[in-house]
Structure formats: C-alpha cells, structure tokens
C-alpha cells in the first residue's frame, strides 16, 4: 500500500473529527500488523470493500471516546445503541470519503459493528494490515486498513 493511499484515510479521519468536534484529532505514525492479531478497542465498525480493491476498513474506538464524540455531535443519548451507530457511521464516512481517490469502483458495504473481543474480527491470514493510531482529547482509537 502506498503512502498516498494511507494519506487518503488519514485525511478522512482528520476531516471527520474537524467537522464534528472543536478538538483536532492527532494521528500517530501508521504501522503494519499481522492479521492474526487485529487491533481493536471496545467498539469496532467494519466496512467491507469489494470491486478491484478488496478487503475491509475498520474504525475501532473505546467506549469513552465514542461517548464524548456523541456529545460533541450534540447527541445527548449515549446509549449502547447510539455508540454502535456512531462507530459504524465513522467507519462508513471514512471509507466513503476515500472514493474521492479510488473512484466509484471502490464498493463499500453497510457497516458491521462488533463489540468487545478482537477475536471476533477475522482478517485474511496471508496479508497484513495498516493501523493508523488516533488520539482525540485523552482517548485512543484507530483506523485499520486491510486491502488487497
């Protein structure tokens, strides 16, 4: 994966937080991980990618980050249902925004959200994923990109 491709997703994360909160997000140095040990926090929104590029993009975040992000959006209901909704919407927005670079053939699915154990995330064992660490206020999250 090229540096330019990674930058598309970094720009998407920065844009999302810039539009939805008054606090800029900090992006850490991206790194590679083996797919047998995927990174995950409390909630994970996964977008399946099909077309010429295949794989998935997911946004994973702690419960506390999502609660504060909901409040920044003006949403006072921080129920589990809305946390699940939000983590899926962030993943959908970042993936959808990437079509400015990849075009219409970068087909994205509706979000699938999982909570808790990273063992529930199954990625192709033959490849590796890029993790983009995200720091917002005092909280951590990540965007993970697993594309062929």
């Amino acid at each position: 994966m090229s540096e330019a491709t990674l930058q598309v997703f970094i720009d998407g994360v920065v844009r999302y937080f810039r539009h939805t909160s008054h606090k800029e997000v900090e992006v850490g140095t991206p790194y590679l991980v083996d797919n047998d040990n995927p990174a995950a926090f409390d909630y994970t929104g996964i977008i399946g990618i099909s077309g010429p590029t295949k794989g998935c993009v997911y946004f994973t975040a702690s419960r506390i980050l999502l609660k504060h992000l909901l409040l920044s959006l003006g949403e006072g209901d921080t129920s589990d249902e809305n946390l699940i909704d939000l983590v899926g919407e962030v993943a959908n927005t970042i993936s959808g925004n990437a079509r400015s670079e990849f075009g219409q053939e970068f087909m994205i699915s509706v979000p699938v959200v999982i909570t808790g154990a990273p063992s529930n995330i199954h990625l192709p064992q033959a490849s590796r994923s890029y993790v983009i660490p995200i720091y917002w206020k005092a909280y951590s999250a990540a965007v993970v990109i697993c594309l062929s």
Binding site: R15, Y16, H19, T20, L70, L73, G74, E75, E81, N82, D85, L86, G88, E89, N92, T93, I94, S95, G96, N97, A98, R99, S100, F102, G103, Q104, F106, I108, V110
Partner: protein, 123 residues
C-alpha cells in the same frame, strides 16, 4: 412551511439533520432508515423535501431516488452521503436529486444546502 423527510440508516445522522434544519421553514413529517421504508413513508406523508443517504440496507439511495421521482417529480431531494467520488454525485443528480451534501457536514453546511435546493420549491 415545507414538509421534510429524513432518510438515513444512522439514527445519529437523522437526529443531527432533525436538529439542524430551520424550524421556521421546514416541518419534519417522517424519517426512514432504508429505501423501502422511505418509499412507504413518502406515499403516506407526501413530503416536499427529502434528505437521502445513499449507502443503506434493504434498498440504497440511488434506487430510492428513482422511485421517489417517479412518484412525484417535483420533490426536492438533497443527497447526504459520504461517497465522495464525482461519478456517484453525477449519478444522483441525473436521477433527479437537486443537491449533494458530503458527510461529515456542519449544521451551517446543512442549512445552506437545504436552502439552495428549496429556493424554487412552490410552497
């Protein structure tokens, strides 16, 4: 007062649009979380203005726009989507949508987009 319907599979986005529209100009008459539900709500409430997500379960926004335009060619549809490629935007406009608002968006951007697409709506 224009009758508004919000279509998006995210409850958070539906709430954000619901909070962000101008209460003096729009009356929210319905919300829907997918294209099929949107068509049913559209037939029941006959909204003047629709905000439409594109990536949704059951029926996506492009197919839904096509059906809504067949039911009422005068409806003003604002696409609100994260899909940022030009081809999708052009496709939505060719299907009959009047505007495209890229997610994420601010309340000011939403208000401006709704005002733009409803300038020529006959109240």
């Amino acid at each position: 007062m224009l009758k508004l319907m919000i279509v998006d599979d995210s409850n958070i986005i539906r709430n954000k649009i619901s909070r962000g529209h101008d209460d003096a100009k729009f009356s929210l008459v319905a919300t829907a979380s997918n294209g099929l539900d949107a068509i049913a709500q559209f037939k029941k409430h006959q909204p003047d203005v629709v905000t439409m997500d594109l990536t949704m379960p059951e029926m996506d926004g492009i197919d839904c726009i096509s059906t809504l335009m067949a039911l009422n060619p005068e409806v003003a549809i604002l696409v609100v989507s994260a899909l940022s490629d030009k081809a999708t935007g052009i496709q939505a406009l060719q299907m009959g949508a009047r505007g495209f608002l890229l997610k994420p968006f601010t309340e000011e951007e939403l208000e401006n987009a709704l005002n733009e697409i409803t300038e020529q709506v006959d109240v």
